[in-house]
Point group: C2
């Protein structure tokens, strides 16, 4: 299990990765990061999930918040508001702005997002190879029923951050995904992997969006290596965030077993659920997915490392069959 590929969203994926690096310090970890959450704000290209991984593994994250920079200030944002320039609902701090300024400048000079991400990581040394899922523009839109404005599509960040997922989501659409190509290195990393892990990231708007890039799902299925997932749902509720809201949009119950079946045995070889969901193990196994109940709360790095060890262990078992 030397070469590990992880499909990651933001906070959940990033925290899991920190545990994984402790559990497998010798491994070569490639992270395929979701970019469907990316948004242009103030003329700048913002990549929330890539940055959360980079800041978390690079020691720059705001620990309590889970996203954004530690020791952050908000002068730029306050000034933008004084100019009447919004949106105000997206919390960009001064330190964070610098990342987006560098990224936007490099992209304006013609560098693809993958090259920009590599350049930014030169500073942060995250200890993983961080790749965007694609260099093409993919933007997750959510079809909502808005009381005042009726049914309309909004950017995922508007749904998630501004609306706080407070209105029903009728559909989640990764706009542009069908025309996108995996970023350089993505398919190669999957083909050379010893294991592919779905961390407890959002199965719809994080892992699901990555899988929507044509070629990635097929490459994982064809790699012939264990594919192991960790449930983001514990005791019928998301550990963090509002994954249940977008699961409903795709017709999936917010339970650990329903998410496993959503991925399906054609993709997933093994699945970890929390000990409170031990009763669901049998149902998942009946669907042809090896399953085990272990503690899945990432309360600190050591607890998270233990989750990663459990994922690698069950992967070995799959390999041995």
């Amino acid at each position: 299990m030397r070469r590990i590929v992880v499909l990651s969203g933001g906070i959940g994926g990033a925290r899991f990765l920190r545990g994984l690096l402790r559990a497998a310090p010798e491994a070569e970890v490639t992270v395929i990061g979701n970019t469907g959450d990316d948004i242009h704000l103030f003329g700048l290209k913002v990549c929330p999930d890539l940055d959360t991984v980079m800041y978390t593994l690079g020691g720059g994250i705001h620990e309590e918040q889970g996203w954004g920079r530690a020791d952050e200030s908000f002068s730029v944002k306050e000034e933008l508001a004084a100019y009447g320039v919004g949106p105000e609902w997206f919390g960009l701090g001064d330190r964070d702005f610098a990342t987006h300024i560098v990224r936007t400048q490099m992209m304006g000079a013609g560098y693809p997002l993958s090259a920009v991400t590599e350049a930014l990581c030169q500073r942060w040394n995250p200890g993983v190879r961080l790749l965007p899922m694609t260099d093409d523009r993919v933007e997750t839109h959510v079809l909502v029923d808005d009381e005042r404005e009726g049914r309309r599509a909004v950017h995922f960040q508007e749904y998630w951050v501004r609306m706080r997922a407070g209105v029903p989501a009728r559909a989640v659409v990764p706009v542009g995904a069908d025309q996108s190509k995996p970023a350089p290195g993505v398919l190669e990393a999957i083909a050379e992997a010893d294991v592919v892990i779905f961390p407890p990231s959002n199965p719809v708007v994080s892992v699901g969006t990555i899988l929507a890039v044509p070629g990635i799902r097929e490459a994982i299925a064809d790699a012939g290596v264990p594919v192991v997932g960790l449930s983001p749902i514990v005791g019928d509720a998301p550990v963090r965030g509002m994954a249940d809201k977008v699961l409903a949009a795709v017709g999936v119950e917010a339970t650990a077993s329903a998410v496993a079946l959503h991925y399906g045995s054609g993709l997933l070889d093994a699945w970890l659920v929390d000990t409170v969901d031990a009763a669901s193990v049998a149902g998942v196994e009946a669907a042809g997915i090896r399953c085990r109940a272990v503690p899945l709360l990432m309360k600190d790095t050591e607890a998270t490392a233990e989750m990663a060890r459990a994922a690698l262990t069950i992967a070995t078992e799959v390999d041995d069959v």
Copy 2:
């Protein structure tokens, strides 16, 4: 003297304008701002002179420094440096960044600089109509003799801020000026003016650059109204900054009278020198330019208002001839 047009650079012009607004609170003041100092930094469009005028008259200026924002912090710049992204010699603060972000975003959306400047001024209410000299790109380059790198052209900001005018300037070239057009409203404001004032701004890289935009010099000459200047040189040295360095590049002595003769009687009707330069009055008048010695140190707003009153007074005398 109800309608006043002022050709302004940064600090000197901005401080003079504050005095002018006190001296003539009922006047309609149009400021034609130098944009030859503009520079792209970090992918953002920075207009130092326009911003200095806007911040100074709008109450946001760092008073002691004369440029940049009061209560400023530098998180963005520190973070950019941590990414290895420079230049580090240009002092952009967090609050200031917001201005450049808004400007760049608006220009990216297709708005000309004049429209952007008007939008930014909606926040600052500077009490004047602030127009860029042109919406076209003009960039002042300085031909320097660099000990290590030989003769080469550098951006004015590099010469002024990074090199601190520490190497001889052989020429000052407003690149692009010959192809530029006055911004909307500039020629109209001049044509309708009762008086045109050259404040104690740099005669080469501020007022000189504005006059290099085809049509502006001609409009001033054709307006048939008094054109009054205030010397930026007091006692054979610039009051502030390093105007002597760039005067040398155009073969003009750093004296109050030499600057008047540099503008010339074809353009200038009246000229104020400082009382320490009273001996030069006769020489300027011999060249056909009405001249008077008054205190020219802008030590506070009232002293500056007194300078503005003297400028308006001598303009009236010219008008009466």
